[in-house]
Amino acid sequence: MNLLYDEQLDGELPAVDREALIDDLKQALPELEVLHKREDLQPYECDGLSAYRTLPMLVVLPETLEQVQTLMKICNQRKVPVVARGAGTGLSGGALPLEKGVLLVMARFNRILEVNPEGRFARVQPGVRNLAISEAAAPHKLYYAPDPSSQIACSIGGNVAENAGGVHCLKYGLTVHNVMKVEIITVEGERMTLGADSLDAPGFDLLALFMGSEGMLGIVVEVTVKLLPAPQVAKVLMASFDDVGKAGQAVGDIISAGIIPGGLEMMDNLAIRAAEDFIHAGYPVDAEAILLCELDGVEADVHAECDRVKAVLEKSGATEISLAKDDEERKRFWAGRKNAFPAVGRISPDYYCMDGTIPRRELPGVLQGIADLSKEYGLRVANVFHAGDGNMHPLILFDANQEGELERAEALGGKILELCVAVGGSITGEHGVGREKINQMCSQFNDDELETFHAVKAAFDPDRLLNPGKNIPTLHRCAEFGAMHIHNGELPFPELERF
């Protein structure tokens, strides 16, 4: 099923008089930069999920809050859909434009408004890059904890929209745990504050609801994030295993020992070899799996924990354990992991990154299931895994120039996500649903649950103008998706509910 917006399946979009809208905008907002020529629109036709492209009707690049408010008022009055976009690094097509919609680019809201070391917070505009916050806080020995691998490029507004994670989530939490307050513009163009400068706000926790809501409930225009004191010291242990199951078991053993590592990552052999070839991180290319375990905090504690983790890993059957001898080696160990995606990109013309989460105990079975599916579809899969929090990133290797391979990769990806749901997991841990996983939402939720999501949407955006078609599928789409599965006669988990 095509993932581009399909009015038959995703709901009719209002007809928009493009020229009249441009006139309106020019009149009301003469300073606002509006792109409407084909060649100007083209750079915005996709986000990080570049296999899917749609030329937006218009692109607007506001610079002030007032411009965003007026724009929203005009679009609301004329019933024009609005898709917000930050840095455009999202991997699930959350910022995929609409032919009948305005693409609202927030990139020019790129100022850090305040870094307050005593209050341990930073107030920033949504277009500020994730890493730029930690850099601005660094002189105060503070940092912003969530660190998605794209942190040099991704913006905090996008992080809020996707509830972004990273490699340190188990200990330091997701975006939802590290944002105190957001300023939003409602679909009606009004300004509203969610959350507070204090540790709680009266009323419903709408701040939590907005995290990961993919720009469908309001436009984020300012974010106040928590800053944490930088850990005094960080050490990384690398353990090799001759079996992925043993590596998975070792993760459970570390946590059973009462240790919460700052980061705990796992890679399988294909990913190890690709990363080593690219980064020369010093990974053991013969190992079936490696674990990277980072322990951070106060020096005395970290030393003690390193010893305990070493003992656990030895007992769990690690064939080799090495402690990064200095900060340089530690960074090299991490560089291999953080560059695993581009590394895999070097050994295959294209790759498709999945984002399922599972209870960790299910890891051996799920890895076996992925291996079986990989054989069945004739495509290689490299596994990179935020092992500590059960977030898998299987990378499906394919060649889009080979007839039918993209479709096979997508079908294989869909099956992997359904496998995650079947063992009690989720189709997305941190990349979001966007358009990419819109069909798999039908596997994870039933019609009543989806209707409840639509009810939440209706409370904030009754006319479906904010990023329509993302995140929550229509019941119609799910019915079609289910029917398609049965027609093909290849239902791998017949017990899964689809309608």
Binding site: A196, D205, G258, I260, V456
Partner: protein, 364 residues
């Protein structure tokens, strides 16, 4: 098998229990007759929000742990379960709910913890109740039993209705189960009592807050700063050496959390001021006690509600009265636009208005 399970069970989905079914039936009957419900566990949080009338929906028959796997750091528990029971089960495995919800004579339930969002002294350093919520099972305003979130650490599929339930005072549905993240208990702890003036204490806390110190409790009362340190042996002992002061009995934190300190016995109404980090020492109209490193200030005062709430607003925070019958709006009123979105959300999720309506604000 049961009437709620109209849809085939999904993999990993557990059967509806008889007690859960009874709650669903009561909600459906209430929906049919448009009878407002008053959702209640141990009724230990009656001092928060507003009193309401309604048919009692008592969750306490629906109790017990559904699943607990210490190596996954996740527990799923029925909402009628007494908190003490949950905490004891975690304690057996050396784990805990770090947000430290009070147990109030052992009567508080898991559902009440979730609905009130009431966390303990560790809140500023480890997170709130909602920060530990991973998933919920909810009876909705259509009388359906649905699942949101899950039992995994990371899950961004769909809107986060589970965390929304925390602190919603039951206005958006009846939560029957909640899955929460749990953590190992700290290896070491130290409890200190520093006889320093309040201003100096706040200044110290601002300074320490910028350093990687294992502080998990900071309360100023009776002219001294009480500190709790928790973490590894090394960090706790070195921080304790550095901070100095006298040794404090660990039971202080329980007394603070359970509101058993003499401060709380004062007859005047109890107010809670929630203020930004690093708010300076201000004159409050009454007797006060500082918790959460100064972010949560308790006030015993006869001053009018408007005055106290206005003061809290001027400091960038908000105030709530936790003595029943003092004011009609014990929770600080919301700005009009935000109030309208609250109404709209409530109308969407509870169209018949049967769930704890009026519990937080009149007309909501």
């Amino acid at each position: 098998m049961s009437a709620t399970q109209e849809k085939p069970q999904r993999p990993g989905e557990r059967a509806v229990t008889a007690t859960e079914q009874a709650l669903v039936e009561q909600v459906r009957a209430a929906l049919a007759s448009q009878t407002p419900l008053k959702i209640q566990g141990g009724n230990t949080k009656a001092f928060m929000g507003r009193p309401i009338e309604g048919q009692l929906l008592d969750t306490r028959e629906h109790r017990g742990l559904v699943s607990y796997d210490p190596t996954e750091l996740v527990v799923t528990v029925r909402t009628g379960t007494p908190l003490v029971e949950l905490l004891a089960a975690l304690d057996e495995q050396g784990q805990t709910l770090p947000c430290e919800p009070p147990v109030f004579d052992g009567q508080a339930t898991v559902g009440g913890m979730l609905g009130s969002g009431l966390a303990g002294p560790r809140r500023p350093w480890v997170g709130s109740i909602r920060d530990f919520v991973l998933g919920t099972k909810v009876i909705t305003g259509q009388g359906r039993l649905l699942r949101f979130g899950g039992e995994v650490m990371k899950n961004v599929a769909g809107y986060d209705l589970s965390r929304l339930m925390a602190g919603s005072f039951g206005l958006l549905g009846v939560v029957t189960e909640v899955s929460m993240k749990v953590l190992p208990k700290p290896v070491a702890s130290a409890h200190l009592d520093l006889q320093i003036p309040a201003e100096k204490a706040l200044q110290k806390l601002a300074e320490w807050g910028q350093q990687p110190l294992p502080i998990t409790g900071a309360c100023y009362s009776d002219n001294s700063l009480k500190l709790r340190l928790e973490g590894g042996e090394g960090s706790v002992s070195s921080a304790a050496d550095r901070m100095g002061g006298e040794r404090l009995d660990a039971s202080f934190w329980t007394q603070l959390n359970e509101r058993q300190l003499p401060f709380f016995a004062d007859e005047r109404p109890l107010w809670r001021l929630s203020l930004p980090t690093n708010t300076p020492l201000v004159d409050l109209p009454g007797t006060s006690l500082l918790d959460w490193g100064g972010c949560q200030r308790w006030l015993k005062s006869d001053a009018p509600a408007e005055e106290i709430q206005k003061l809290a607003t001027s400091l960038g925070g908000h105030a709530s009265c936790q003595t029943p019958g003092v004011t009609a709006t014990p929770l600080q009123p919301l700005p009009p636009l935000l109030a309208r979105y609250h109404q709209q959300l409530k109308a969407q999720l509870d169209p018949k208005g049967i769930f704890n309506s009026g519990r937080t604000y009149p007309g909501l």
